[in-house]
């Protein structure tokens, strides 16, 4: 199941759902409203400068009380009431029918947890949030290390991910599509390369996607792929990474069971195109300096090619 790449840069002004739409319209009201007030003040300024001596004057008290007190009070109170009425309320638990996704922010990547409806088991994925279009999604956000912030401008506002707490964010997208998001709270050296991608599917396609992701890695037949799997184990990649069905004890790094199906590698750092996997494995520290994963630059070329080929076909 190939997913299209985001067609545009992330933008608050291109909402994909109701929560983002509220923020988008609030932004437009503030931009246009402040522009109108600015123009009004500039016109007054021009009139004041151009006023002839002895011309008609307006009483000072009218400016101070009218323009300085009454006008801001009315405008700001109206804005406060309007934005408060449009703020989503706090919910104790997910509404019935909502899809629940757990998102954990690591340094510097995202872990996504889904519940497989068929088996009831938790499915651990990484760096990509897949959603069914038209269905509310409850995101449970947490962090085991420092404060991060979940921000996909097309979905809604930012939500801080505070260690030791699970905070929630309700999102819903109307149409299938894909968008980019990123960590919005400085969290260390690679904060800037801690991005995620959101892909919204039609509901049936989403169910098929989740069922495919819940499966363990498919057994490889070809000799090169078998060698790649052996390299994965021999190089102890499984000390940090899980590939379900092959090695499941590594929990420090992202789950790689279906890494070949992802749009990007290294949390939005490298487009997952041919050659990217080998480049990432051999030059991790050059691509994303400070990442927890070491560069495997000493691996021989044949082993590296086999390992990359095996990982690329884990779809």
């Amino acid at each position: 199941m190939s997913s299209p790449l985001p067609q545009q840069l992330q933008s608050v002004l291109a909402p994909a759902g109701e929560a983002a739409d509220r923020i988008g319209s609030l932004s437009w009201v503030l931009i246009i409203g402040s522009l109108l007030i600015f123009v009004f003040v500039m016109v007054l300024l021009a009139l004041a400068i151009g006023r002839r001596k002895g011309g008609r004057t307006v009483h000072t008290r009218l400016w101070v009380l009218g323009g300085g007190v009454a006008f801001p009070v009315v405008v700001l109170t109206a804005l406060l009431a309007w934005s408060t009425a449009r703020t989503p309320g706090w919910m104790e638990r997910p509404p019935p029918g909502a899809l629940v996704v757990g998102i954990t922010a690591h340094m510097w990547w995202w872990e996504m947890r889904y519940r497989d409806p068929a088996s009831g088991q938790e499915v651990v994925l990484a760096n990509e949030l897949h959603l069914p279009a038209g269905r509310p999604v409850w995101l449970g956000l947490s962090s085991p290390n420092v404060i991060h912030s979940f921000w996909v401008p097309a979905l809604g506002g930012k939500m801080d991910m505070v260690p030791g707490r699970v905070v929630h964010l309700m999102v819903q997208v109307d149409q299938p599509g894909s968008w980019r998001g990123q960590c919005a709270e400085y969290c260390g050296e690679q904060h800037a390369r801690m991005a995620l991608h959101v892909v919204a599917h039609p509901p049936a396609e989403f169910d098929a996607w989740l069922a495919a992701q819940a499966k363990p890695a498919a057994a490889s037949g070809a000799a090169l792929l078998e060698e790649g799997k052996n390299v994965f184990l021999a190089q102890r990649c499984n000390a940090c990474h899980t590939v379900r069905g092959v090695a499941e004890e590594g929990k420090l790094g992202p789950d790689l069971t279906h890494v070949g199906s992802r749009l990007y590698l290294g949390a939005g750092t490298l487009l997952n195109q041919p050659g990217a996997m080998a480049h990432w494995i051999a030059h991790t520290q050059a691509v994303k300096p400070g990442a927890r994963m070491p560069s495997s630059s000493d691996m021989d070329a044949q082993a590296l090619a086999a390992l990359a080929a095996w990982l690329e076909q884990l779809k």
């Binding site: 085991p144 290390n145 190089q235 102890r236 000390a239 940090c240 004890e249 590594g250 420090l252 520290q285 927890r292 994963m293 070491p294 560069s295 495997s296 000493d298």
Partner: protein
């Protein structure tokens, strides 16, 4: 000493106490040169060096004498035997170091160092090698 004012009496008492403490310290047995925790580990440092190479510790750590050990993810292990703490948290005794090599997260839960599948027996040799890096 009824002829001494109360302050002097207190001073005398203090001096007597200090003297007594000094005598007691002189009479104590000298401390064992090897802390008891170190006695448990008797590994083979040469074997430990080969195991450290085999487990690719050098991918993350710079280690003297280990081929291609120039990793930058973890701290350099130069003069590791002179360090007071493992990972800045656990006192650097060979027993603790061996346990650390088997399962780092069991001692420091949020460590970035993975458990590489080292057996307790192998860890004793590796700890012996690291302990003699001065």
């Amino acid at each position: 000493m009824p002829f001494l004012p109360p302050l002097s009496r207190a001073l005398c008492l203090l001096l007597c106490l200090l003297g007594g403490a000094g005598l007691a310290a002189c009479g104590a047995k000298p401390a064992d040169p090897v802390p008891p925790l170190q006695l448990a580990v008797r590994g083979d440092a040469a074997l430990g060096l080969r195991l450290i190479t085999q487990y690719q510790c050098g991918t993350c750590h710079a280690i003297p004498d280990v081929p291609a050990a120039r990793g930058v993810n973890g701290p350099s292990l130069q003069a590791f035997g002179k360090r007071s703490y493992i990972a800045g948290r656990v006192p650097n005794f060979p027993d603790a170091l061996a346990q650390w090599l088997v399962s780092p997260a069991s001692l420091v839960p949020d460590t970035a160092m993975p458990s590489m599948g080292v057996s307790p027996e192998e860890a004793r040799h590796m700890a012996a090698y690291l302990g003699q890096l001065k």
